[in-house]
């Protein structure tokens, strides 16, 4: 601890550790935000950026360590404490009341003396907007606003409450390049006014453009910080992804490789009309693990859901080559089928979704009930067959060492690793032809992660086409035979897992639209 810091610090975090169960999200982090600077907090998905910031905004409470605000030791146990200390966080998901106007949202929840004086409040809001250059229609209702306007309201709200320290959690993820420029201009105005800002992002060119200093987190550890003027895209990428770490995951050479799933020109739109996948083509081979890399939200979820019949497809084809069919039989077209139809036409596809308890499992049910999610239709007549799922549950319980008191214990109350074992165990037990997994080891400890890697490799050697969506490049490079990199819904490259290096994949991942102007 440096007590003789010449510049007064807005925030100092010392030896902060936060665990979720057995997973360490932040480990012994020392972090400083100086007064009047814009600091970028950089890191891959799951590196602990948001967790760290949530401890400042009062959502989490550190297990160990001490936080200082303006050099005073503080305990931030609720968002209200954070506000009282002048810390305001703008979350990725806005917390606004849709049917209220901007003004009403901004003053909402504030306890001023006496009656609520909307006129006076509006006066103050107008002043704030003018001072920092916000353009906002104060009387418009939130539901009529664009995403960027909503974000502006959030920022003004935080300023109205007297925040001196602002934390913006991936503010540009939802903005167009023009809107991003506007946001950065406002941020510079706020800085000029003496506010201290933290911006969480993983877009390197933005980091270089807006911030004074960059702090990098990797896998929950504080890697270090550099002055932005001394940094380049390459040096930051190296800090972010680190040196290649040998994990020693077994990767046997594929045998009998043959196309299993051929995806061509796949394009999908979400319900807001935003293009989520843009002309995606690739082949998943039987006997191979195909890795899918990319920054979060690059279309990984949409891709897997589209293949399993859960996402509306506007263009393209997904053809399944049935290993059991005769050689000359034409492949089956899966576009236009729902999961039930896909299953009924004999395509056994296993899918381990990212949202384990919200999609892959039923949290309130035990292992047996969750096994039935894949087999409930098999019972006689109108009744369920509980016997087979019960046996399967017992088998998985034993074989994968699931820690649970019984097969009827609600899976929601198991630890993350055990939940994932139940889900992966069930999907593999279907004896699938295609096995798709999304972030299969997210939040799991090392041992469980290796269990999962081994299971996937076993499936691959059985001749299953395995698709592995992952975020840890070290793992992708050691586990997968080929790696497809998604960027902004497009395939930015398909590389060989044995020869590719981390920098190459990292570069493909960050080749974002609008990024070209900085290269």
């Amino acid at each position: 601890m440096n007590a003789l810091e010449p510049v007064k610090t807005a925030i100092r975090m010392e030896h902060i550790t936060k665990r979720f169960g057995s997973v360490v999200a932040n480990h012994d982090i020392n972090f400083v935000l100086k007064k009047g600077e814009i600091l970028s907090l950089l890191g891959e998905n799951g590196s602990g950026k948001t967790t760290l910031m949530n401890m400042l905004s009062g959502i989490y409470y550190a297990d160990e360590g001490q936080i200082y605000v303006n050099d005073q030791p503080v305990a931030i146990t609720s968002p209200k404490d954070a506000y009282d200390l002048g810390i305001g966080m703008i979350h990725q998901h806005f917390k606004l009341v849709d049917v209220f106007t901007a003004v009403e949202n901004i003053v909402l929840g504030l306890k001023d003396e006496g009656r609520l004086d909307l006129k006076k409040a509006r006066q103050r809001i107008v002043e704030i907007c003018e001072r920092y250059g916000f353009e906002i229609d104060l009387d418009r209702k939130i539901y009529e606003m664009s995403v960027s306007q909503k974000q502006t309201v959030e920022i003004v709200k935080v300023l109205y409450r007297g925040a001196e320290i602002l934390i913006l959690d991936e503010p540009t993820a939802v903005l167009t390049p023009q809107e991003t420029d506007k946001l950065f201009a406002v941020m510079r105005n706020m800085k000029a006014d003496g506010k201290s800002l933290i911006i969480i992002t993983h877009k390197l060119h933005e980091v270089l453009e807006v911030s004074d200093r960059v702090a990098v987190l990797r896998k929950g550890e504080y890697i270090g910080d550099v002055q932005t003027k001394d940094a380049s895209q390459q040096s930051l990428t190296d800090m972010m992804v680190g040196h290649a770490v040998a994990l020693n995951i077994a990767r046997p050479t594929p045998v009998n490789v043959a196309p299993r799933l051929v995806v061509e020109h796949l394009t999908v739109y979400d319900d807001l009309g935003v293009k989520r996948l843009n002309d995606v083509s690739f082949t998943a081979n039987a006997g191979e693990i195909l890795g899918i890399a990319g920054i979060a939200g690059s279309g990984q979820r949409e891709l897997l859901e589209a293949i399993s019949g859960l996402y509306p497809i506007s263009e393209g084809s997904i053809r399944f080559h049935d290993p059991k069919a005769s050689e000359n039989a034409p492949p089956k077209e899966l576009v236009g089928m729902d999961p039930m139809a896909i299953r009924k036409c004999g395509v056994s596809m296993a899918f381990v979704p990212e949202d384990r308890l919200g999609m892959g499992l039923v949290g309130s049910m035990g292992m047996t009930g969750n096994m039935m999610l894949r087999s409930w239709r098999k019972g006689k007549g109108a009744f369920l067959n509980r016997k087979a799922p019960e046996e399967l549950a017992n088998r998985i319980w034993k074989e994968l060492d699931v820690v649970t008191p019984s097969t009827s214990f609600p899976v929601r109350r198991m630890s993350g690793g055990n939940v994932q074992k139940v889900l992966v165990g069930r999907e593999i037990a279907q004896d699938p032809a295609v096995l798709m997994t999304a972030y299969a080891v997210r939040g799991l400890d090392i041992n469980t992660s290796y269990t999962i890697y081994n299971l996937l490799t076993e499936e691959k050697m059985k001749g299953v086409a395995v698709v592995y969506v992952g975020e840890d490049l070290d793992v992708l490079l050691e586990l997968c035979d080929r790696i497809l990199v998604l960027c902004g819904g497009q395939v930015s490259g398909i590389v060989d897992g044995r020869t590719a290096d981390k920098r190459q994949v990292g570069a493909l991942m960050t080749r974002v639209e609008g990024d070209s102007r900085h290269e």
Binding site: P339, M359, V362, L384
Partner: protein
Amino acid sequence: MNNKLKFHISKRAALPWYKAWAIRGAAILAALVVCAVVTTLMTGENPISIYATIFYGAFGTARRSWVTVQELAVLLGISLAVTPAFKMRFWNIGAEGQVLIGGLATTACMICLADTLPNSMVIVCMVIAAILAGAVWGFLPAFFKARWNTNETLFTLMMNYIATQLAAYFIIVWEVPKGAGKIGIINQSTEIGWLPQIGNQYLLSILVVAILTGVMYVYLNNSKHGYEIAVVGESQRTASYAGIKVERVIIRTMVLSGAICGLMGLLLVGGIHHTLTTTVVDGRGFTAVMVSWLAKFNPIAMIFTSLLLVVLSRGAGEISSAFGLNHSFADILTGIILFFIIGSEFFITYQISVRKSAGKEA
């Protein structure tokens, strides 16, 4: 330094069943103690004798016991009807209207068909009409929910008013004698359309609901439909993932829920009252929601939760006459007991810990 204490509420990891039941037992005990204190403070009466009177009011004589069990059956039947919907997290608060419309359909058959069809055919028509009417009342909100994601709470609530107004209208159409504003006992002399008595006048509805309880238990726990309902209730995304057609399950379940409500309307009008008033359901469509949730959608446990509510409300009448207390007094006691029972669930799911604020010196 600021060493203020802060309460921190967090979810419990797991609680063995006996501890959960100990908490529930303690809650009921605490409720009885609070009720006793309130009773003594407000009325000066001995709380023990009040409790005794409540029990006497519900089970004091053979007839009272039969009526209590019949009331239990009606409340339980409606609770069973709403349970599949609530298990699916479909907020069906329209049981009141679904029962009433079933009763209205029954009444229509009894009045309009009495002269044209033999008694047995009238009864067959009544059964079909009541179940169909309830099913339609359940289908409409479900269809709109499944298609356009309308709010089922408002929709089912509004359907109650439509049912009440329809009933009010037809009561005037069929009023006997003219100008009376009510129907009176239907077919009093011929007893056409009166459901047959088994043993005594109470047993039929009790038996029907007893069978219904068993069937519903099996339906929810051992049938494919029951499984689909549970999955849809937990997460619609999980349901689609498992290949369950969510829209179809929503509509099918609500049709079932409405149909059973219609059946209860049939029992109320054709089997118990033999007349129709707009208040024949008497708020039980709403009480049923509480019965169902308190029992966590377990039909067997619902026997006990509905028994508790029926005994308390039957005892209420007895208290008011025996002690000259206001009828609402029993409602106060019911409220206190429910408050404790529902409140105890909080302590089963969450734990409260106290931590010192870390305001140490730098």
